[in-house]
């Protein structure tokens, strides 16, 4: 045993950033905004209005009219424009006021805050940059081949408000090997991270813990191969290959978020399952529902931790942990001006976690849990038998 004494370690909660990340942020499934109505979206401590013009192109503006502050999300779509419910000022997707029906002319300065939009994989994205740069189309998340075709089930899309946490808590998971055992009930048998440019990736193989019942990562009958990449600060594509009793299914899980304040965010996740060949529609839908349910459970497991934990700017690590400091250094690039991005924030970094010791310990712990449960079970059986005899 070590005789060295050190001082008690302080938790540095740190100070949250004074801005929101630069990059593409996903607002949800594009078609849900195409119902001819204005939609309200909370993001970046703002209210945004999103609507489709007559050609179906989606637009996003600040939600308050620059005239007298009317709430555009309660307005009406008129032609290509969003009309304010207060005085009917008409705003175009380019951020300019196009018409004031009761006025001789529109003031030249009638411009509002506009967010450039793009669509990928059937989802709507907006570009956010506190510096006001033009949208960088080169770093839009990639198109996922065939995902919008009949080869996959349609996106099953879900939204959850998270309060009391900065969205960096969610990002930290990318480098967090051990939480998969404790929070998601799976053995992460191999774990690797690569950060490069605007992407951060986690490669993981895992298998479910047999002592925790079924659901999510924790089903004892399933092994997972997972590749999960953040494209920018807020949108992750997770390619999953789930082997359930020898039956392999490809699942795509989208994990994205919109920061709503420095201590809250809206988590969104979507699931599409590659339809296994030779199965009827009903079975395919059943499988898709099960995966949606189980990965949804996985997020709720994280949420319970986030809602109660403290922010930590100085995590204390052991050698089995992933590269959380390097991940945060990568994430930092989205919170500084483009001119201030340091090479080390975007330089390629590879990290292979040694999971050997952890898995040895975990296997033993699970075996002990199962043994104890069997013993309790047989004691309970004996007691039941004794009671029946009496």
């Amino acid at each position: 045993m070590s005789t060295a004494t050190t001082e008690a370690r302080a938790l540095d909660h740190g100070l949250p950033p004074a801005r929101y990340a630069r990059g593409w942020h996903c607002l949800g499934l594009a078609d849900t905004f195409r119902d001819g109505k204005p939609h309200r979206v909370e993001a970046f401590e703002r209210k945004l209005v999103v609507w489709a013009d007559s050609e179906g192109k989606l637009n996003a503006l600040d939600g308050y009219c620059r005239h007298m502050g009317g709430d555009l999300t309660q307005g009406e779509v008129k032609g290509d424009q969003i009309a304010c419910p207060f005085h009917d000022w008409r705003w175009g997707g380019d951020g300019k006021c196009k018409e004031i029906p009761y006025a001789r002319r529109v003031p030249m300065r009638a411009r509002t805050v506009r967010f450039e939009t793009a669509e990928r994989n059937g989802q709507l994205f907006i570009w956010h940059d506190p510096e006001g740069s033009a949208a960088d189309l080169d770093i839009l998340p990639p198109e996922i081949p065939d995902v919008l075709t009949d080869a996959y089930t349609p996106w099953s899309w879900h939204t959850k408000e998270i309060n009391g946490s900065h969205c960096r808590e969610l990002i930290d998971n990318v480098a967090d090997m051990a939480h998969f055992y404790y929070v998601h009930f799976a053995f992460p048998t191999s774990f690797r991270n690569v950060f490069e440019g605007h992407t951060a990736t986690q490669y993981m193989s895992s298998k479910g813990r047999p002592d925790m019942g079924s659901g999510g990562y924790g089903d004892e009958n399933s092994t997972l191969k997972s590749v999960a990449t953040y494209y920018g600060p807020a949108y992750m594509i997770n390619w999953l290959e789930v082997d359930y009793k020898g039956y392999v299914t490809e699942v795509i899980l989208i994990n994205c978020h919109l920061p709503t304040s420095q201590s809250s965010f809206t988590l969104q996740y979507g699931i599409a399952v590659k339809k296994p060949e030779g199965l009827d529609e009903k079975t395919v839908n059943y499988i898709a529902e099960r995966y949606t349910e189980s990965f949804g459970t996985g997020f709720l497991q994280d949420v319970a931790i986030w809602e109660n934990k403290a922010p930590v700017q100085n995590p204390l690590l052991c050698e089995e942990d992933g590269p959380v400091y390097q991940l945060r250094r990568w994430y930092e690039q989205f919170y500084v001006d483009q001119a201030e991005i340091k090479p080390e924030m975007v330089d390629r970094f590879e990290f292979e976690v040694d999971t050997t010791k952890a898995n040895e310990y975990w296997q033993a712990e699970v075996a002990e849990n199962l043994r104890r449960r069997a013993e309790e079970g047989s004691t309970a059986d004996a007691e039941a038998a004794a009671t029946a005899d009496a």
Binding site: P16, E196, L317, E319, Q326, R328, F351
Partner: protein, 100 residues
């Protein structure tokens, strides 16, 4: 680092320790790339590339030329072999120090 501000001086020291501590420069035996490496155990490896090193890597250049570009997950096998060699030759020490 700017955006998430530590409130304790010791945190800056921690950041240096976890980000740069014990990183050792390893030269690729096949090209001019030099990277910084740390090995906490036989299976663990951390590799810090620089833009310059990426530019020198012939394997990555070859992968970049294929359709769809270089898959980001691929390690450079030549560099990995060079790291193994550095371990065998005793140039790169294997072992962790108090979790970093």
């Amino acid at each position: 680092m700017g955006a998430f501000t530590p409130t304790r001086q010791e945190t800056i020291e921690d950041q240096k320790l976890y980000l740069d501590g014990r990183l050792r420069e390893i030269a690729c035996l096949d090209c001019l790339a030099k990277v910084k490496v740390k090995k906490n155990s036989e299976h663990h490896t951390a590799v810090q590339w620089s833009d310059e090193a990426l530019g020198h890597c012939t394997e990555f250049a070859r992968l970049s030329g294929q359709p769809g570009g270089r898959p980001v997950y691929e390690s450079c096998p030549r560099l990995m072999a060079s790291i193994d060699r550095a371990v065998t030759e005793g140039e790169l020490e294997v072992g962790a120090e108090d979790g970093y």
